[in-house]
Symmetry: C2
Subunit: 384 residues, 2 copies
């Protein structure tokens, strides 16, 4: 085995830890911009609570509250302008993955000039960003555990990550109690995303011995706790477990990367603004089936073994029933769906497949079976 | 559960990765001081190999080769003077735990003034240190995976850690092939140290869900691989596994701390220069036995459960045979021994116990049963 491991996260986890945000923020700056969405953190009262905690600690704050799901380069430009105008020394992302990713990208652009997509595509490079504090309110993205910020360019439909240790949060405040206001359908979608992160990092060509044990733990925790929470029978410990699994999922993809399902899901949500977890629900069974059928004998025994482990974690027996195990899990959380139901049409397939190879080359290369253009088209068709 | 996790290590692991040291070092400085011991890295040819790799990459280097086991404040002063005289921008620790710890402490003192022990005791605080690269040649200490540097003050006999993220290596180059030159007796001693790190972090009051899974993996890997290596029947994979377990052990204590065995072992090795792993071999069974007997019913069910897990990992059944499982493991690696055999006398006991409470308060407080002065004296007597 040969591997590298570098993931300088700083996690504070537990019920009620949100109370610490004021004093923790004050350690970085006296002026913060809070990046959040249009609705849920207002309805739940969280935004007001955070504003008051910051004020008590002597941290002035401005709010950028226009982040929508699948945040765009336009939103980042607007938010960055606010961060600069306010001369903020800290960016706080408050909400789901979209809000956290927008916070990360804005903290980055506040210290850099030019076009964000040039940094996303690695045409321009910088290691500078403002300090970031992240507070997740959904348990799926795991953005609080890595240096990724997924951004969509509305001009091209490209949905792709800005990446680097400079956008790893200086502090992630992960409070399981903040998850409890999520609607059930959102919980199902983000919870499945967390499961996918763990599964994909586990089968990734860039997997490491450390991410493997973390991914296994993430899978186990989602597998044992998401369904009771979805049914309304889960307790506080179940919320803690799924929340922690989500952060673990973010951490493992931060080191081992994602594979084909995430790679192939980005184009549909880039052009049709699909909810990421629902896109994954449509694609993951199709891709898993095709992968297991396509794994060569001998050389890829390890990948086959790993699919067997995933299957057993979801109640199956071996790699042969892995797809069925995933489908059964999706059924339990009412997430059996197609891309067609989410607005994707057969005439989109060519663009989607070409775009997948453009925006997700790394994820596709990490997959146990490396799919070419025609195979990716077929995957989209099978998932329609 | 409530916890914090921050461990910004940067690991490069694998057979042959030592070849990268030149280019990696060049990223930090053109001038390095290599901190190593008197013998083994010279005999094995490793020091010459590293010097040549650095030279090829355009990194000038000076060598401080006077570090002995249980490095002293005097050695650190001498080494720091060399680092300053050479105007080195990088300190490379090459060897076992003592050499790595000396490198860390010297990199720290090169950027700070005053008395090292003031920093060790937290009377003076600094977050500055020169960049550090660590290359372990023993698989036990795990110093490459944390921000601890254990230093002995010969004036007082105090053996205690300098601690902080500033002395976490910017890069740890962990090459399992470098372990193969260790004498068998050293392998037994350092391998048991690695096992103790995992066991102690696992039972620590500061344990976290992430350190728990890492500690379990560390225990499993030492338990399955150390004995075959000690017998000479282990293969390359066994070397990789024990080496990785050692780094994991360093990482978990870096977050969750050590408990009573490490805490109580420091005073004997502080005054009698005992090999750390051998001191642990004398003390761990005694402490484990007393702890399990002393765990109260009800409140400490979790600690009891954890000792059962440790016991099963070592071939036992439950917490009741945990001490026997540890003893059996020690027997297999010829490490059944007493403190008396290592030069500790009954008249030392009072000083040892008082010193343990002085230098190891944190470790003793992390233990599932918090021992007072009289109990610690009895532990030393039982281990004589």
């Amino acid at each position: 085995m040969k591997f590298a491991f570098h993931l300088p996260v700083n996690l504070l986890f537990g019920n009620g830890v949100i109370e610490e945000i004021g004093v923790r923020a004050a350690a970085y700056s006296r002026k913060a911009v809070i990046v959040t969405g249009r609705g849920s953190t207002k309805k739940s009262g969280l935004l007001d609570r955070v504003l008051s905690l910051l004020e008590k600690a002597g941290v002035e704050s401005a709010v950028y509250d226009k982040v929508a799901p699948n945040p765009t380069t336009d939103a980042i430009s607007e938010c960055t302008a606010l961060v600069k105008a306010e001369k903020a020394g800290l960016v706080i992302g408050l909400g789901g993955g979209s809000m956290m990713d927008a916070a990360k990208a804005s903290a980055f652009m506040a210290k850099n000039s030019g076009d964000l997509m040039d940094y996303v595509y690695g045409r321009t490079v910088s290691t500078e960003a403002l300090p970031i504090i992240l507070v997740p309110t959904t348990c799926g993205t795991g953005s609080e555990g890595n240096g990724f910020a997924v951004i969509t360019d509305p001009k091209t439909g490209d949905k792709k990550s800005l990446r680097g240790p400079m956008i790893i949060a200086k502090l992630s405040i992960i409070d399981p109690e903040l998850m409890k206001t999520m609607p059930r359908s959102v919980l199902a979608s983000v919870g499945f995303d967390a499961l996918c992160h763990a599964m994909e990092a586990y089968i990734s060509a860039a997997a490491t011995p450390l991410t493997d044990i973390m991914a296994l733990e993430g899978m186990r925790l989602v597998s044992e706790n998401l369904i009771p929470l979805y049914r309304g029978t889960g307790d506080g410990e179940a919320w803690e477990n799924v929340t922690w699994a989500s952060t673990l999922g973010g951490m493992v993809i931060g080191v081992a990367g994602v594979t084909a399902p995430h790679g192939i899901e980005h184009p549909p949500s880039g052009i049709r603004n699909i909810q990421h977890g629902r896109g994954l629900a449509a694609l993951t069974p199709v891709i898993t089936d095709r992968t297991i059928a396509g794994i060569g004998a001998g050389t890829s025994a390890r990948a086959r073994e790993k699919y067997a482990v995933i299957s057993r974690c979801l109640g199956g027996k071996n790699e042969k029933d892995c797809t069925a195990s995933i489908k059964r899990f999706l059924q339990e959380i009412d997430l059996v769906m197609t891309l067609g139901e989410q607005g994707i049409k057969s005439e989109d397939v060519d663009w989607l497949a070409e775009n997948a190879l453009k925006v997700s080359a790394a994820g596709i290369a990490n997959h146990p079976v490396v799919f070419g253009l025609e195979e990716i088209k077929q995957i989209y068709r099978d998932a329609l």
